[in-house]
């Protein structure tokens, strides 16, 4: 059980670092866009795209934070079951494996969904009208 506590603490640490990165990168972008607006600067396509990466980074990190929260919850449930009845440990660990597998698949799906054009070179700049 000690190992699971360490894993939980590590996950919490990773989550906190990611939240800090989200805050810092958001603050950085807002400062840059404020500077651009204040000085009436025109941004070219490359710079505009680069600035938009911040939003993609935030979405990606938020998706992994959701995965971390889900993993922590699954570990907590397993730990509780284990403490209550060690005989249930094998059954519980199977459930834990299943839940972690679902979490991983969900996180991978979100990585793809939240990447936009940065991960799918087949998507061109053309706007699709219906």
């Amino acid at each position: 059980m000690m190992i699971l506590n360490s894993v939980e603490e590590l996950l919490q640490h990773i989550k906190e670092v990611q939240l800090d990165v989200i805050d810092l990168s958001g603050d950085s972008l807002m400062k840059m866009s404020g500077f651009i607006e204040k000085n009436g600067l025109e941004v070219d396509d490359d710079i505009s795209t680069a600035l938009q990466y911040q939003d993609i980074i935030t979405q990606q990190l938020n998706a992994t934070i959701e995965a971390i929260d889900s993993m922590k919850k699954s570990i907590e449930i397993f730990s509780h079951a284990y403490k209550s009845d060690e005989g249930l440990a094998n059954e519980s660990i199977e459930k834990l494996k299943e839940k972690l597998s679902v979490t991983l698949q969900d996180a991978k799906d979100k990585k793809s969904r939240f990447s936009g054009k940065t991960a799918d070179s087949s998507v061109d700049d053309e706007i699709e009208f219906f």
Binding site: V43, Y53, D55, T58, R113, G116, T118, V123
Partner: protein, 124 residues
């Protein structure tokens, strides 16, 4: 000037669109919550174009679109989805709900300007 509203839960995404639309002959209002934009529309605001994100907490882009179509003033208001999502089935869902078009992030500024110009029939 035509009123264009942008809805995105990310303030940084809104900052990116603002940089692009600053030089356009349009009035822009930005919202980080779709339900707030919807409340203002129900209170009498009549946008000429709505550009919304899809993945948002509380009310997502599709829910917002459905709600817009239920308000007489925005039943036919052109609405563009600006999202990282690229799945064809989501685009189809949007189309079925009366969406005007789909823009994938990160957007090309020139293309976004062109789309707004085209939808609002602004002088090129």
């Amino acid at each position: 000037m035509p009123l264009v509203i942008f809805v995105d839960d990310s303030e940084t995404a809104l900052a990116s669109t603002k940089m692009v639309t600053n030089s356009m002959p349009i009035e822009v209002k930005q919202y980080t919550e779709a339900q707030v934009a919807l409340a203002e529309i129900k209170a009498g605001m009549v946008p000429d174009l709505i550009i919304t994100d899809l993945n948002m907490p509380v009310m997502n882009g599709f829910e917002f679109l459905k709600a817009l179509r239920a308000v007489p003033a925005t039943q036919r208001t052109p609405t563009l989805m600006l999202t990282t999502e690229t799945k064809p089935e989501l685009k189809q869902q949007g189309k079925a709900l009366g969406l005007t078009g789909w823009i994938v992030k990160p957007f090309n500024p020139a293309q976004l300007k062109q789309a707004i110009t085209r939808v609002l029939r602004l002088p090129a």
